[in-house]
């Protein structure tokens, strides 16, 4: 190890055994040896003078003296931190904690912003009635990001303040210096130190009781091997590939299906609705019902309850539908088709709908529905609960257009009239003679399947509720024509009050 130094033989004896128990084992007793540089190129100028010590205490003492001599560019090197050396070397307390503090604050701010935007702005889910942004549930993330930012900054800040990583130093040319990470203690004085004078400094160090002294020369810069340089360059280049790929793909459109390495659930071996298939002659993926089949629970054999017809009427209704236009020919629009022929024309209101108008003499074709055997009575027991239910349902489903009193002045109608919506047909009043006479089964059919512009509500309102609505409908009709004697005596006053 010491073959190319002019080391005194005795020095190696001191070197062995880090005689920590005996601070005087090395140094002063024997005249310290003096080494020359191990540098590859001694012609280079001196960069450092290096003094080796056997114990931490010896280094501490020496460092103190060097500092007191006024050297500023010097350093002590040891395998482990030596307590108290900061003070004797005049090392100022590091600014690192401030870096950490600021980073911690930034972490909290980042977390707050992240939680705020994800929870409140971008994905505002309302969950168990909690506010969209709340401190308690954001606290864990705030805390974690504070720690994360602070910790990363602490490490990076420590390295930066220490000017690390620094892979080449003249110190590394010294073979002896390799033991600084093992059991030896070194003092280095930088040649750039204003106090540095080659002979004087060397003598000074000799006087400090070092085991060994040597000079490290500036190194000739050796460039990195070409393989490394190429690898680094290629690596950097390749780092741009994913980024540019993503940017490219995100800014362009493609008609090609996505490449699937693993089949996701989106590509299941099944046909979706409204798509084509070559499997069947009609080319449709969706299959029609098999003729004559009835789904479970869909039999609905009770004609009166489900269709408002006398028993057997269902067969006739099938015949009537035939007369409706089939696909291919456009369905006649309401405007041309004189409303429901069953209702006399004077009851329908055109778009302007300002009250009853003189009958329009249009010869209406007979309505096939007229011929059907509609029932006249409710197919279920009429109770006050049914009435209450009917009122509630009516107010939900019907009143928006027909109005609470059934005269065709619901909120939507009023608004449509105000806006002058040309396609809006004002609902007929319930209190016309025609509607008062119409069989209850026929009215049931109208609610279920719609009439004129009114859509069918069969899918939304169950049969029982439809009957309940009709019961209330009848009550509304009756209310307009009821004599005072029909009102229970205790309600009369109340009714009188309501009259303006």
């Amino acid at each position: 190890m010491a073959d190319h130094t002019t080391a005194n033989d005795t020095s190696s004896n001191h070197g062995h055994g880090p005689s920590v128990n005996d601070p005087h084992a090395s140094g002063e007793a024997v005249a310290p040896a003096r080494g020359v540089a191990v540098a590859a190129d001694p012609k280079q100028p001196v960069a450092f003078v290096l003094a080796e010590f056997g114990t931490p205490d010896a280094l501490l003492k020496a460092a103190k003296q060097v500092y007191e001599q006024g050297y500023t560019k010097f350093d002590a090197h040891s395998p482990f931190p030596i307590h108290g050396i900061d003070d004797v070397m005049g090392i100022r307390f590091t600014r690192l904690p401030w870096f950490t503090l600021v980073a911690g604050g930034l972490g909290i701010a980042t977390a707050t912003a992240l939680i705020y935007f994800t929870n409140k702005e971008w994905y505002p889910f309302l969950i168990s009635g909690k506010p969209l942004f709340s401190i308690p549930s954001a606290a864990p993330v705030m805390f974690e990001l504070m720690v994360l930012f602070a910790a990363i900054t602490t490490l990076v800040g420590m390295l930066l303040l220490n000017r690390l990583p620094f892979f080449s130093s003249p110190l590394f040319q010294s073979e002896r210096f390799q033991r600084v990470t093992n059991d030896k203690f070194f003092l280095s004085i930088d040649a750039r130190d204003p106090k540095y004078k080659s002979e004087k400094t060397l003598n000074f160090l000799t006087g400090l009781g070092a085991d060994f002294i040597e000079t490290c020369h500036k190194e000739v810069a050796t460039p990195l091997p070409w393989a490394f340089r190429t690898a680094i360059f290629l690596g950097l280049l390749m780092a741009f590939i994913p980024v540019s790929m993503v940017a490219w793909k995100r800014s362009t459109y493609s008609r090609n299906p996505r490449i699937r390495v693993i089949f996701d659930m989106v590509s299941q071996p099944k046909k979706k609705t409204q798509t084509t298939s070559t499997l069947w002659a009609d080319g449709r993926a969706m299959r029609p019902w098999v003729v004559g089949s009835i789904a479970k629970g869909e039999l609905k054999a009770d004609d009166a309850f489900y269709r408002g017809l006398k028993p057997g009427g269902a067969n006739q209704i099938a015949l009537t539908t035939v007369s409706f236009p089939q696909d291919g020919t456009p369905a006649p629009a309401d405007a041309q088709k004189p409303a429901d022929p069953a209702a006399p024309a004077n009851q329908t209101s055109p778009a302007d709908g300002s009250g009853p108008k003189p009958p329009t003499p249009v010869a209406a074709p007979p309505d096939p529905l007229d011929k059907l055997p509609w029932i006249e009575d409710f197919p279920l027991p009429v109770t006050s609960e049914l009435m209450a239910r009917g009122q509630e349902r009516y107010n939900i489903y019907c009143a928006t257009c027909h109005g609470l009193g059934g005269v065709g002045n619901g909120l939507i109608t009023i608004r449509a009239m105000e806006l002058g919506e040309g396609t809006w047909v004002q609902p007929v009043t319930f209190h016309s003679e025609n509607l008062r006479q119409q069989p209850i089964g026929r009215l049931f059919h109208s609610i279920s399947n719609g009439v004129r512009k009114m859509p069918g509500y069969g899918d939304q309102i169950p049969e029982r509720d439809r009957w309940a609505i009709l019961l209330y409908f009848r009550a509304l009709q009756k209310s307009k024509y009821a004599p005072l004697s029909d009102v229970p005596p205790e309600k009369v006053n109340q009714l009188m009050d309501a009259v303006p």
Binding site: T100, Y123, F143, A151, L155, L164
Partner: protein
């Protein structure tokens, strides 16, 4: 050289005995700095590690390969290959996740909390414990990741602007906290571990015998020269990281406990969960450290650095945290009765006498009863007994999570939706495989990295010598 003293002899003294007022040596055999370097580097520098290392490595890599197969099978087939099903949607994956995250806690406790408490005995074991932490977190992180099923679209979850992927990830889930807690924990543990290793990596660099090793260790030691100016900032940074890691380690298992305790599942929602989970995690983690270090110190001849006293201290921590866990079990139990909520009461009776009663009693036996042998010094200082108990602790802590997750989920409020969970062979092989991964990483660490923090131990030895010098001075006075 130093004066001859009985401790100079190359025999391990019993440092588990301490006379009050006179601190026992933390490093026996009166090691010199060079000797410490040599014995720690031996594991990495010897051309052939011990035969036991090869055997262990062969087994653990096979298990890791099995894990790889299991994960591949899972990803290509779907989560259905596991036993998770209604009502136990969280099953072994979350059990294993919590188990492994908990294991990690001991490392940070040793490196950060004991550091703040000036417990110098940590220096011999902190490196291995920190390494263990990172490997455990690797295993832990794997489970929730593969549980998402289609990990190739996991980036859907990244919020970069509103609704980029036309799906609505739920950022208000408590599981979000886990993502931040576990990833922060993994990162900070890694930084802490790496930073602690820089001086030791420099030792490896300076002793490297071939160019590649020199370059690799040289790169990672960042040009460290042991400069006093560097040490100054390094120590401050170390202290800061310790101060950050201490609340962090508490927060991680606290957040994990929030996953359960913010819900309303009987047996999950209880306010003591955060401290109880943390204590349990430290308990389990120390169990794992003992499990690993008992063979490792024997295998690599480090008995004079990782001494019986270190092991004894860890066993004391196991006893203390095990008892805290017992306290939490008792409190949960008492409050379940005191609270008067029949569902909560049922949850606890079901644990004890329900279909999974065997799991509950295994947990109690392993976690509460088995560490009680550590009241006796003989048990605390016997490597064999402590190793066996530490295995029990590992088993017990796994079962604790099983009890919490599976028993509570399988029977909650509505008896009509009760179910019974049984793991599939994929579940079992994945768990075993995760142990393989963990052991493989640890064995590689033992072979290629400094398993004892040399610089720190040297500092302790230096101070030990000073104390001795001080005592000598005082007695001669």
């Amino acid at each position: 050289m130093a004066a001859i003293s009985p401790t100079m002899l190359d025999v391990d003294i019993d440092n588990t005995i301490e006379t009050p007022g006179r601190r026992s040596d933390l490093v026996t055999r009166n090691s010199s700095f060079a000797e410490i370097t040599d014995s720690v580097c031996y594991a990495a520098e010897s051309p052939h590690p011990p035969a036991a290392w090869y055997i262990a490595f062969a087994i653990s890599t096979s298990l890791t390969m099995m894990l790889g197969l299991m994960v591949t099978y899972l990803l290509f087939t779907g989560i259905g290959v596991w036993g998770n099903n209604s009502p136990v949607f969280w099953a072994w994956d979350i059990v294993n996740f919590v188990f492994w995250v908990g294991i990690g806690h001991a490392g940070t406790l040793i490196s950060a909390i004991l550091f703040l408490f000036r417990q110098n005995w940590r220096t011999s074991i902190n490196r291995a414990a920190e390494a263990m932490t990172i490997f455990a977190v690797v295993c832990a992180g794997m489970f929730p990741t593969i549980h998402v099923g289609r990990i190739w679209v996991i980036y859907y979850l990244i919020p970069y602007g509103p609704n980029q992927h036309a799906i609505w990830p739920q950022f208000r889930s408590p599981l979000l906290w886990d993502v931040f807690a576990v990833s922060t924990y993994a990162t900070v543990s890694l930084l802490f571990w790496y930073m602690g290793m820089i001086p030791d990596l420099a030792t490896f660099r300076d002793r490297a015998t071939n160019k590649w090793k020199h370059m690799a260790y040289g790169f990672f030691s960042l040009g460290w020269t042991g400069s006093a100016r560097h040490w100054h900032r390094y120590e401050r940074a170390y202290l800061l990281l310790a101060a950050l890691a201490t609340p962090l380690v508490l927060s991680v298992h606290t957040v994990v406990s929030f996953d359960f305790a913010t819900s309303q599942v009987p047996g999950w929602h209880t306010t003591i969960f955060p401290p109880y989970f943390v204590a349990g995690a430290i308990f389990g983690g120390f169990g794992m450290v003992v499990t690993l270090l008992v063979p490792a110190r024997a295998l690599f001849g480090l008995e004079h650095l990782i001494t019986l006293r270190h092991m004894e201290n860890m066993n004391k921590v196991i006893l203390a945290t095990g008892t805290i866990v017992g306290y939490a079990y008792a409190m949960e139990f008492f409050i379940a009765w005191y609270g008067g909520n029949p569902y909560e009461q049922f949850a606890f009776l079901n644990r004890m006498f329900g279909p999974y009663a065997w799991a509950y009693w295994t947990m109690i036996a392993c976690n509460v009863l088995s560490p009680q042998v550590f009241w006796f010094k003989k048990c605390r200082t016997s490597p064999l007994i402590m190793w066996i108990v530490s295995i029990f602790v590992n088993i017990g802590m796994w079962f604790e999570r099983f009890v919490i997750v599976v028993i509570s989920l399988s029977r909650d409020y509505l008896p009509s939706s009760w179910g019974h969970y049984t793991p599939t062979w994929v579940d079992i092989c994945t768990l075993i495989g995760s142990f393989g991964l963990f052991t493989t990483l640890f064995l590689l660490f033992c072979r290629f990295l400094p398993i004892v923090a040399m610089a720190e131990v040297k500092g302790v030895v230096h101070q030990q010598n000073h104390l001795k010098a001080h005592h000598g001075e005082e007695h001669s006075h």
